[in-house]
C-alpha cells in the first residue's frame, strides 16, 4: 500500500477548513490544516506537504504573501500551490482581482466555494 499524499490546507475560516478537509480526506489524502499564512509556513517547516491549498484573504499573513515566501524558498518552491479565493475576478472593487491571480506564482487557482469533484481533479492533476 502506497503512502497517502499529504495536503496542507490554509484558510482562516474553521468551518470552511473542516468542510474542505472532509472532501479531501474522502479523496484519499492526508490533510494538515493551518489558519493563517504564518501558521501555514510553520506547518510546511515541520512537515513538507505534497501540495498546498491556500486561501488568499487571511489575517496576519495573506495568501499572496505566503505564496511568495514559499516560492522564494528553494526548499518549498517546488510544492504546487492552489490559491482559493471568494472574490476571484468577479468583484472589481475588491483588492484581489484576476490580474493578481495571474501575477501570482501559484500553480493554479479556484474560486470559493470549491466543488468537490473539480477540487479533487485539480489536486490529482498537480500531484501527478
Amino acid at each position: 500500500m502506497t503512502e497517502k499524499k499529504k495536503i496542507l490546507l490554509i484558510d482562516d475560516d474553521p468551518d470552511f477548513v473542516e468542510a474542505v478537509r472532509v472532501i479531501i480526506e474522502n479523496g484519499g489524502y492526508d490533510v494538515q490544516v493551518a489558519y493563517d499564512g504564518a501558521e501555514g509556513l510553520e506547518a510546511v517547516g515541520q512537515q513538507k506537504p505534497d501540495l498546498i491549498i491556500l486561501d488568499v484573504m487571511m489575517p496576519v499573513m495573506n495568501g499572496h504573501e505566503a505564496c511568495a515566501k514559499l516560492k522564494a524558498d528553494p526548499e518549498t518552491a517546488k510544492i504546487p500551490i492552489i490559491l482559493l479565493t471568494a472574490v476571484a475576478d468577479r468583484v472589481t472593487t475588491s483588492t484581489y482581482t484576476h490580474r493578481d491571480m495571474l501575477e501570482s506564482e501559484a500553480e493554479d487557482y479556484m474560486p470559493k466555494p470549491v466543488e468537490p469533484v473539480e477540487l479533487l481533479n485539480l489536486v490529482e492533476q498537480w500531484l501527478k
Binding site: 468551518d15 470552511f16 473542516e18 472532501i23 474522502n26 471568494a86
Partner: protein, 493 residues
Amino acid sequence: MGDIRILIVDDEKVIREGVERALAGLGYSVAKADSGERGLEMIRAEAYDIVLLDLMMPGIDGFTVLNWIKENQPLIEVIVITGFATVSKAVTAMKQGAFDFVGKPFTPDYIRIVVAKAVAKLRLQAETEQLREERTLSLEAINKEQSRLKTVFGCMVEAVIITDKEGVVVHHNPAAISILEIQTDPVVGKSLASSIRDTAAVEMILEAIDKAGVVTREFPPGSISRRYLRAHCSPVKAHGGAVLGSVTVFEDISTHKEIDRMKSDFVAMVAHELKSPLASIEQMIYALQVGCKYEALHSCNSLHNRMIVRTRDLLQLIENLLNLSKLESGTVVFHLEPIKGHEILADIVEIVTPQAEGKGLNLLFRPCQEDWWFNVDYDHIRSAFLNIVSNAVKYTPEGGTIEISTSLSGGLASLVVKDSGIGIGKEDLQHIFDRFFRVKGKATRHITGSGLGLSLVKKVVEAHKGYIDVQSDLGAGTTFTLRFPVTEMLAPA
C-alpha cells in the same frame, strides 16, 4: 385727485354768496369764511386746494392770510379778490405767491374761468408729482435690484467667473478666489489662463464661446485646486445671437464624491461580509454530500450544527445591517420611558447566566445602593446592554470572571462591564466601533459575529445622550463603561 375743495374768504356776504353761486354745480366743494381770522382757522382745521381771498378785510387782511398760506401750506392756490381793482395791489399779491386775481365787480363766468385755470394747474402739479414719485420709486427699485444681485453674487458658495469673448476675466465673485485657489491679484482684466494653471478650464471656456453652447466638465483634485470641482460654462449672447463672453460656475463636489466613494466601499464591504459565510455554508453542504458516506456520524452532526450557526449569523448580520441603516437615516422612533436601570440589568444577567455557567465563568452583578431611572427606549437599550454582556461572555475563556457594576455621580449613571477575557490590542481598539471590524487572530478564530454589534451599541447609546468608553489590555481583559443621564424620578415609596 379727488374733489377740488374751495374756501371763499370775504367779509362781504354778497361776494361770498355770489362766488358760491358762480361755482355751484361744477363739482367743487365750497366753504365760506367771513373774516381773515375765520379763514385761517378753517385752513388750519381742514385741507383746501383753492382759496378765493379778499385782500381788504378788517382785522387780519388778505395779505396776512396769503403770507401765512404760502409759508405754511404752499400747495394751496390763492386767487385774490379786490374791490379796489388796483393793478398794484394785485401785482403785489401775485408777487407774494397768489395764482391770479379777480377784480370786483366780476361776472360769474370770469370767476369760473379763473378757478378752472387754478384747478388745471393743480391737476397738472398733482400729475407731475405722481410721475416724479413713480420715477423715484423705479430708480429705488433698480438700485435695490442691483444691490440684491450683488449680494447674491457675493454670497454664492459657488465660484463664478465672467469673461469676455477672448477669455479675459471681466468679473468674479469672492468664492472664485478661494475655490479656484487663485493667487493672481488682480484677476480682472487678465486672461483666465494667467490665473488658473489648469489649461482644461481655459479650454472649456473657449469651447463654450466657440460653440455658443453650454459646456459641463469635472475637475478632479489636483487639476484646478485641491477640491473636486464641477463646472458649468455658458456663453453670454447678445440679442442678435452673437457671443459676448461667458459665465462659468464652479461647484465644489468633493463631499459628493467622498460620499459616493464611501457608499461603494460600503456596498463592496457588505457584499464581502455576506459572501464569505455563504461560501463556507456552501462548502459545508458539499462536504456533507461527499463526506457522510464515509465519515463518522459525529463529523456530519458537527457540520450540520455549524451550518445552522452560520446561517443564523448571516441572518443576524442582515438584521443588524438593517437596524444600523435605520439608526443612521434617523427613521427609528425611540419610545422613551423612565426605566429602572437595575431592573434591565438583572434581566440581562438572567439571560446570559446559562451561557456563562456553561463556560464555567464567574458572572458577578454588583449594582450600587441607590436605585436609578433613565429615560430610554426599553428594547433598544436592552439589546445594546445584552450585546456588551454577551461579548464579554464570548471573549472570556473558561474559568474567567465577568463583573457588571453600576454607580451614580453628577447626574450620570455608570454601567461597567469588566471581563478577564482575551483583551483587545491597541491597534484593534481604535477600530472596535467601526462597522464590520472584527479582531482577527488565533484567539477569536472560532468566535463568529457580524462585526456590527458594537457599531449598533454606540449608535443606540449616543441616541440616548449616553457615552460609551472602552479600555483593554491584551490578554488581561476588557472593560466597557456606559454612562447615561439619570431622570429626576424619586424612588417610589
